[in-house]
């Protein structure tokens, strides 16, 4: 049995993702031609030898269940241990349909956590785009003499984040919550390695005070009580997707070879659900520039700065630019699409003209007929 148990938070909403998350939780948002966001957390765990993993979900998780299945694509379908999907067991806040915070989510699966045989737990977000070397983070945890190791990044920040200020002894001195700038120290990636008994204590203390937030309540309290928390600095690309513009930019970042190789290094492969696929076919008149194309596509038209998921059909004389085309989309002939994010199985008839803007690409919902 591995020494560490994994818990992935896949319950978070992101209302600003609009139609992209209408029928799915952020963790199952399709990304980079064949992946879902949760693949990064699952693969990080798998690559560090962690195969006992619980995934906390709250709602709109059908696509997540379908994607993860038994967990066998991450070698987490195990006779002993393995992957457990943890749907809500009666929500305390029935009116919102979601957990108010991480502590509340953890307390909702308290009995699962009590039964975890391992003494150490790795907590990760299911919606973070990053290829984190958890084995290295665990090494920092084991050598740091702290009860908690926070996974951080000193890379450029996007949007609002929590920040840690670290002292010369390598321990966290202060937490700055919900800051929009990077000057206050290291950006939290909201991944933690923590002793099981410490986590249970934080959960209990927070619950006793009717607190639900992990950073604001539990971690601040832990530090104020003199708790020892060190950090692991993740180097490499990171993006937490919270709105459509961020999703679009993170997707387009994958066209950059350096970033792509940081996210998909050969040494830590990102695994995902395997579909029955065949190679892609590029036709007589196909033009493909600076694009990513998954398997099982038939491309007759022209692509530039595009990400095309598997199973797409792009007709002849169709020009597709700066767009993200998800699985199973069919685009007819003589069409022109620019700055479009098309969700799965949408169909665009011949001569469709559609143009979004660079700042805010147009989202075409799943299964649309245009």
């Amino acid at each position: 049995m591995a020494k560490y148990h994994g818990i992935i938070f896949a319950y978070k909403d992101a209302p600003e993702l609009g139609d992209l998350t209408r029928e799915r939780t952020v963790a199952s948002l399709p990304f980079c031609g064949r992946y879902r966001l949760i693949d990064f957390a699952l693969s990080s765990m798998k690559n560090a030898g962690i195969t006992d993993v619980g995934v906390i979900m709250a709602r709109d998780y059908q696509s997540l269940l379908d994607h993860i299945g038994s967990g066998k694509d991450w070698d987490m379908s195990r006779r002993s241990g393995g992957l457990r999907m943890l749907p809500p067991f009666g929500l305390p806040h029935a009116h919102t349909g979601n957990y108010a915070g991480t502590i509340e989510a953890l307390n909702a699966v308290r009995s699962y956590i009590l039964d975890i045989p391992q003494q150490h737990i790795v907590l990760m977000l299911g919606s973070l785009i990053a290829n984190i070397d958890l084995a290295a983070a665990i090494a920092a945890y084991e050598s740091g003499g702290a009860d908690i190791t926070a996974i951080c990044s000193d890379g450029p920040a996007v949007g609002v984040n929590h920040y840690y200020q670290v002292g010369e002894d390598g321990l966290v001195k202060e937490i700055f919550l919900y800051r929009g700038d990077a000057e206050k120290g290291l950006k939290s990636l909201e991944g933690y390695i923590i002793r099981k008994d410490v986590l249970l204590r934080l959960m209990d203390e927070a619950a006793a005070r009717n607190h639900y937030a992990f950073h604001r309540h539990a971690l601040l309290g832990f530090l104020n009580d003199g708790g020892r928390m060190n950090v692991y600095r993740h180097e490499g690309y990171v993006c937490a997707v919270r709105n459509i513009a961020q999703y679009y930019r993170a997707s387009m970042d994958m066209l950059n070879a350096e970033i792509r190789h940081q996210i998909f290094p050969a040494s830590r492969p990102v695994r995902t659900k395997i579909h029955e696929e065949v190679s892609s076919y590029f036709g007589e008149s196909a033009v493909v520039k600076n694009s990513l194309v998954a398997d099982n596509c038939i491309i007759e038209g022209e692509l530039e700065n595009c990400i095309v998921f598997s199973g797409c059909r792009i007709g002849a004389d169709t020009k597709l630019r700066n767009s993200i085309i998800m699985r199973g989309v069919t685009i007819g002939e003589h069409a022109e699409l620019d700055y479009i994010i098309s969700d799965k199985y949408a169909r665009f008839s011949d001569r469709t003209q559609l143009k979004g803007s660079a700042k805010l690409p147009t989202v075409v919902p799943k299964g649309s007929n245009i």
Binding site: G33, F264, E277, V278, S280, Y281, V288, L292, V293, A294
Partner: protein
């Protein structure tokens, strides 16, 4: 548990006419058509036909084949009351044990495996054919015609017939004569090397054939003629559709090129998927200078050069200024900047260094042929590999 039909897949041959490509691997595990290996076709056909028990007879260099097949999960053959079994030659108590000495002997040596499923019929398949076929339809006809053996046949031209095993039919439509590569064929029905036998009958013929010291223990040469001589009912099942033997460099290259023509064989048909075990790679990246025309490309490639009329397996790199024309690039091949690959097969993890040339377009001369690099070959910068060359694994040219 009793089965109506189980399959035995002959995958032990060396495939010596693929030379460098099968120096270290068995022919069925040679990469094919971008996403696949040759054995994916019969295995997928079995799964799609509802045959869930497959014995794979291995002998020559089986390591890669064994690990590729694994427990058969990519073909949904990881089932508890059947599944895919690797069957190597083995030793018994008090015996020296022996290699499979022929196709019939390979089945003979594994009668115990077959008996454990107590099947009514046994489907015999080869691991070196590219085709999509519903074995269930063939089995129905086999049962309907009350045949001891049903042989899948393909109509070929009379010129081609001289290269195949040819079935001559009697007036009742059953096979009355089998001729191996006849000089003057009497029929145009060629055996595809796909047989369904009534197991009781086959068992008896295998045991009898094993006693014959002069037999070469081969289905085509011994078992079928013996059955015909004894007046057994042999039925020809007429297969229509794409079927290719990929036993030679030329036929392997040809069949790869055929994959570019969906009218020959449609791999995009979701009702008959050909499955494979492939590593998860990011999508293929096509750079600013990429030009990909009439080609198949698999995930994990990085293309910034020119690719025309070619078949690329996973994780192939074609650098800027490189040119790949009418070629087959197997997994992990790298074509460096300014190199040219024409009418060639480039094996797994080969590196064609900058400015090198492999192969040439047909020039009408007699000695012309497809140039082949086996796996892990490095072609030095600026070097030229002429047409019809054969570079063996590990060689540095």
């Amino acid at each position: 548990m009793k089965k109506s039909c189980i399959a035995m897949l002959l995958a032990g041959g060396q495939g010596s006419r693929l030379y460098a490509l099968t120096q270290d691997v068995a022919k069925p595990s040679v990469p094919f058509g971008g996403k696949y290996r040759i054995i994916d076709f019969p295995l997928s056909n079995c799964a799609n036909s509802g045959i869930d028990t497959v014995g794979v007879l291995t002998q020559y260099k089986p390591l890669q084949l064994n690990s590729y097949i694994g427990i058969g999960q990519p073909w949904d053959l990881d089932v508890s009351d059947g599944g895919v079994y690797i069957l190597p030659p083995y030793q018994s108590a008090g015996e020296k044990g022996s290699w499979f000495s022929g196709t019939a002997n390979a089945i003979y040596q594994n009668m115990g495996f077959i008996e454990s499923y107590n099947p009514d019929n046994v489907l015999i398949l080869s691991g070196d054919h590219i085709y999509k076929m519903d074995y269930a339809a063939m089995l129905r006809e086999h049962i309907e015609k009350d045949a001891a053996c049903t042989i899948s046949v393909l109509q070929v031209s009379m010129e081609e017939a001289t290269r195949f095993g040819i079935m001559n039919l009697g007036e009742d439509g059953y096979v009355c004569e089998f001729e191996e590569k006849p000089k003057h064929p009497k029929s145009d029905l060629a055996s595809m090397g796909v047989y369904i036998f009534n197991w009781e009958k086959l068992r008896a013929y295998l045991i009898a054939d094993e006693q014959d010291p002069n037999s070469s223990k081969d289905f085509g040469k011994n078992i079928i003629p013996a059955m015909l001589a004894n007046g057994e009912k042999l039925w020809p099942y007429r297969f229509k559709g794409y079927w290719r033997d990929v036993g030679t460099i030329t036929s392997l290259w040809d069949a790869n090129m055929d994959m570019l023509s969906p009218e020959l064989i449609n791999l995009y048909d979701p009702s008959w998927p050909i499955s494979s075990r492939s590593p998860v790679c990011p999508p293929t990246y096509t750079g600013e200078n990429a030009r990909i025309v009439h080609s198949i490309v698999t995930e994990g490639c990085e293309i910034d050069g020119q690719v025309e009329n070619s078949v690329l397996s996973a994780s192939v790199t074609v650098e800027r200024g490189a040119k790949v024309v009418y070629s087959v690039l197997m997994p992990g091949a790298t074509i460096k900047a300014g190199a040219t690959v024409e009418y060639a097969i480039i094996g797994e993890n080969c590196v064609v260094e900058a400015g090198a040339r492999v192969g040439t377009a047909p020039d009408g001369t007699e000695g012309w042929g497809v140039a082949t690099c086996g796996p892990n070959v490095r072609i030095a910068p600026g070097h030229t590999v002429p047409a019809a060359s054969m570079i063996y694994p590990g060689e540095e040219v």
